[in-house]
C-alpha cells in the first residue's frame, strides 16, 4: 500500500479520533501532520502490522500524549463535555462520556465508532487485551445505565 493510499483511507479516522479527544483545531492539525510524517517514515514496518488502522491510530494516540506533555498541557485537557456538544445535542451522552477515564473513553470510541476489536485496541494503546476488556466492561455498564435513564 502506498503512502497516498494510506493517507486517503485513514486520514478521516485519525482526524475523527483526535477531534474526539481534543478541543483545539490547531493542535489537532499539528498532531495529524506529525502522525502521517511518522507513518511515512515507518512504511517499511507496514508488512508486519496486523491492523493498519489500529497501528495508525496508535501512532496518533502516542503523538497526542507526547505533544500534550511537551506543551505541558494537562493530560486530561480534553473536555469531553465541550467536544461532544459539537456532534450531539444529547446532553446525557456527554455526561456519561465525561465520567469515563481517557483510556475508557478511547476504548468505547474505538469499539463503537472505528469498529476496532479488543485486540486492535490493545495494540493501539499498548496495553494488555485483558485491560481493554475490563475497561470496556466497566464503560459499557455505565453506558447501559445511561441508556436506561434516557428511556425512562
Amino acid at each position: 500500500m502506498s503512502f497516498d493510499e494510506i493517507y486517503a483511507r485513514y486520514v478521516d479516522s485519525v482526524y475523527s479520533f483526535l477531534k474526539f479527544r481534543l478541543n483545539d483545531d490547531y493542535l489537532i492539525e499539528e498532531i495529524l501532520q506529525e502522525t502521517f510524517i511518522a507513518v511515512y517514515r515507518s512504511l517499511d514496518r507496514l508488512a508486519s502490522v496486523q491492523s493498519v488502522k489500529a497501528w495508525i491510530l496508535g501512532i496518533a494516540h502516542h503523538k497526542m500524549v507526547d505533544i500534550l506533555r511537551r506543551n505541558k498541557y494537562e493530560e486530561v485537557a480534553f473536555d469531553q463535555n465541550m467536544l461532544v456538544e459539537e456532534f450531539s445535542t444529547d446532553l446525557t451522552l456527554k455526561e456519561i462520556l465525561s465520567q469515563l477515564d481517557p483510556a475508557g473513553a478511547t476504548i468505547i470510541y474505538g469499539l463503537y465508532v472505528e469498529q476496532l476489536s479488543c485486540q486492535e485496541l490493545a495494540e493501539m494503546l499498548e496495553i494488555p487485551v485483558g485491560t481493554v476488556k475490563s475497561k470496556a466492561y466497566n464503560a459499557r455498564a455505565k453506558l447501559r445505565n445511561w441508556l436506561k435513564g434516557v428511556e425512562q
Binding site: E29, L32, D90, Y109, Y112, V113, L147
Partner: protein, 115 residues
Amino acid sequence: MKQECGMNANDYSDLALGYIQGRLSPQEKQQVFQLIMANPEFRELMRVELQLTSAFARLKATPPQSVKHRVYLRVLEAKREEISPDLARAILTPILNYSLPKCVSRIMTYCQRSV
C-alpha cells in the same frame, strides 16, 4: 443472562456488536441467530448495542477538505526535506575520512561495525 460455557457478559456484548458491525464469521453469526431465538436477554442486549452504535455514530467527524489538503502538502514537504541514510553516508563518509585524523576514522569504523 444465562451464560454459555467460557463466555462472559463482555463476550456477549462483543458478539452483538460484531453482528451489528458485520464483522462475524458464519459460525459466529449462526451463534447470534440461535441466541436471538432462544434468549430474550440477548435480544435485549442486541437492542442496547444497536442504540449505542447509533448514538456513537454521531461522534464521527470528517476533516474539512482544506485541512486534509494542507496536512498532505506538509507531509510531502517533510518527505522532500528528508535525506536518505544511504545518501547521507555517501556524502559524509569521504568528508569525515578526509578531515579527521586516521586513528579517529578507525575508531568510527569500529563503532559502526559494533552498531
